[in-house]
């Protein structure tokens, strides 16, 4: 399938590589060209602009940092949307707001194109290892047509209905649940430490006997060992995703007080200069607030 791939960050690069390795014809574009060069031995076409990449593509895949970045590569100067052929599909894999997803679905529809929201669960290592889960929402025929691409990129694809916003909300709800678990562990560990209980001991019991979850295990260990660097997923992106969850909830009048708490703590972490550490470093705020 003739594919254009925009955004070769820590998530996008391995995905583009998987597509190339699976034999797809891929034209790539990245704001800083050096990232594209990392794919050189797989011989992609390297485009000089989003528009150049989109021209003639059957499928356009985007994996960028946020709403603003996605709007820029699609609708900005030399943007991809006007250059994309009628009949093409845009597979939007970034973690963005459901509101933007709906707006883009309309714009693509007006241009005779199809929009598919396909955000993913998993960190860069999972992307490298083809272990991402892809949550895909859009017209069934489009999802079907994209299947070979999804199969090349992730360990599985979860269909999430026709309304693309649903996929984005599921992604945001998932990240909210992860951040909530991090906060809960951070507070529990702070309490424990004040009574002389090591986080590792508490984790052993709470996860070993109760939760038995790889999420609690992995994040629990990061927090117990205060191992926040290098960041698997940067704290400021965690803040971004919590903001998106709150904005999505605001649009439908759903208060999420726990998400508000997460946002305030992430914001305090940024105020203390911790924006580049792993988002599990949220737990540092609970510790600092307890004087630890």
């Amino acid at each position: 399938m003739k594919t254009a791939f925009l955004g070769l960050g820590s998530m996008g690069l391995p995905l583009a590589r998987h597509l190339l390795q699976a034999g797809h014809t891929v034209t790539v574009y990245n704001r800083t060209r050096a990232r594209a060069d990392l794919l050189k031995q797989l011989d992609p076409v390297i485009a000089e602009s989003p528009a150049a990449a989109a021209r003639g593509a059957e499928v356009l895949i985007t994996m960028v940092a946020d709403d603003a970045a996605l709007e820029a590569v699609l609708l900005g100067d030399q943007g991809a949307l006007p250059a994309l052929p009628r009949g093409a599909i845009h597979v939007s894999m970034s973690t963005i707001s459901p509101a933007l997803s709906r707006r883009l679905a309309e714009r693509h529809h007006a241009a005779g194109q199809t929009y598919v929201a396909a955000p993913v669960f998993g960190r860069p290592e999972a992307a490298e290892a083809k272990q991402l889960w892809i949550v895909a929402a859009g017209p069934p025929a489009a999802l079907e047509r994209c299947r070979p691409l999804f199969d090349a990129m992730g360990q599985g694809t979860i269909p999430a209905g026709e309304d693309p916003a649903r996929a984005n909300v599921i992604k945001l709800a998932g990240n909210f649940l992860l951040a909530a678990a991090i906060e809960a562990l951070g507070e529990a560990f702070a309490l424990g430490r004040k009574y002389g209980i090591a986080p590792a001991e508490l984790l052993d019991i709470a996860n070993g006997k109760l939760f038995r979850s790889p999420i609690y295990e992995n994040y629990g260990k990061l927090i117990a060992e205060q191992r926040y660097e290098p960041a698997g997923f940067k704290l400021r992106y965690g803040l971004k995703d919590v903001r998106l969850a709150l904005a999505a909830a605001d649009e439908v009048a759903a208060p999420l007080p726990l998400a508000s708490l997460l946002r305030d703590h992430y914001l305090s972490a940024v105020a203390r200069g911790w924006q580049e550490i792993d988002w599990a470093g949220l737990a540092r705020v609970a510790a600092a607030d307890a004087g630890l």
Copy 2:
């Protein structure tokens, strides 16, 4: 081992039964005698007061509702503590404050007795099925001596050091983590529902692909199906435990803002008349606040 068992509620009754079935000599006491009669075919001695039960016991086990109930059976009229022989061990299995645990440890010490805190993780069904985890803290020799009793009551015993307060804090931290997961699921589901995403669909992804935790599975299902009756663990007990976590944290100046949020929501649930439903019903508050 000559054992006195005080408190035959939904947790205490199956534990006393396991002890009797394992061949221990058990004298039981319950405020309302009818509960004790349920054990009749196992032929326990049924005492008329805590003191009567404690007299001559090598080990005194207590499993009651809260701090006040424990103080009453130990130190109230006809209380067990003064009647318990020197050299005996008090195994305190209720979910109580670490402060009371420390106070009782001193009282028992002054009386030539030993105090062991041994709260448990698991609901009544788990108690029936001998699937409880027992977290035990106290003098090593006392823990060792109680091992046959622990083995008869639970699926495993987790040693938690000498300071009995540690076991209570671990128990409270564990329940806090559970309640936090319930709140997070409740908010995530409320958000999802506003976008037409069924809780079961969201749970399938969030737990099936991310958390892979029996806790998220079980509580998630209860919430998704709004199946809060009959209660496995009553909401007002959940509130009690969150209060205890906050009080324990207050003593050591550890703010737990997520626990404060849980407390406020549990309290609102009680204000709405939901105190007798399952504590997973906390999720009803998030739904109601979102107008659902």
Copy 3:
């Protein structure tokens, strides 16, 4: 002074009237023309578009609902900014984000124009009675030149420096303080009512002996009497302003947990259908959460 006035809502209309009555030459524009007709006997020029109003004006005053409305009248189709002469001043009186204020200051600067932020404190009755306070920030010469207009519209003008964002932040901080007082009164009254203490009795003591503030008096009475209709300032605008305060704080990494709480409660009020009542109706949420 040749003035263009855009936005004749419940705040803008009385302000435009004051200007006309003070003898200024005013061209008015409102999205729905009927509002402009209410000024007819004062003989304003009624423009058919923002651009038409701005053409030839020395000062452009805007008083619209929010960021989006302001961007629309300035930069949308037939927007005022491109039509405004070089050398003219834009006095932006709406409650908007400091971020938009700074962006507009740049845009106007690039067009050879001057931007002044001049948000106001006071409700529509105060606007009618010329009792508003105007907080004005911008280049001193521009503020000086606008003085006759400010004098015609309010009871006083508070200079707030050169950076226009400062005026917007002061406005948002002020509204945040008001909403915080409303929430505090709402919670205190809910507590009191549960002990049989009428809100009026509590208010009498708390404001009569402690705060002695007209704000506590006025909002306290609205809440005590549950007199939320007709709305002096609609709850959904209160929510909007709290959102703006949070967004302004987010930009500079200042967590405002009390504002987060306000936002969640306002959002819950909207979810319950209370968006059109007075923003003092926030107190209804505390009452409802207490089962009252």
Copy 4:
């Protein structure tokens, strides 16, 4: 009137002095005798125990630190209650829980005595200057009989009904409102500072034009100038009072999320070692969380 006065702290000492100066016969008791000696030139009887002070008194006044201290002087070793004559009145002026107030009312009733709750609003300086407001609840005849004492101690007495708990709840609600205003100012100032707005400038506008409240003025200045020492009212007492408000609200199932936030922030202040500064120092937490 023959009066016993227990508790000569920073509040009790000036009150006892006022009574002596007004010509009442006062027997005083304080845990540390040195405080009593400060009254020597007014020639009080100095008792060696609460019981000794209470013996023969018509009215017993207590002004101590908290629930535990009050229970100790009344019901502990050499406690006042058993020594107080039948027919006597206990005027309880400490800031205590409504629950203890009700319990004491019963105890006194059983002893043929009368209980009056009479907490006060005002700081030590106000006590010195006879500027306290006394909120008094109890049987009307008892209130009437105590009037000369109230008149000697404060600037006015506010009757609050027969149920003594009402006076305590009013006191706690009042202090909650004060702490809420402190928190709101602290957050608003933190936001302002991040935009280069000095707290004093913001206060000038917010209080000068909006609130016009001596409370906002006084606390606002303390916070703006970060003048937290010497403490007028210590932060740890502020925490104590917020705890009492939350406990009183918990008893009647009224969630007070703003009070929870206050508690968490006060607790964090204690964790950072700020327990002895003025309770306006709560604002330091908002500043620290914003990285200021």
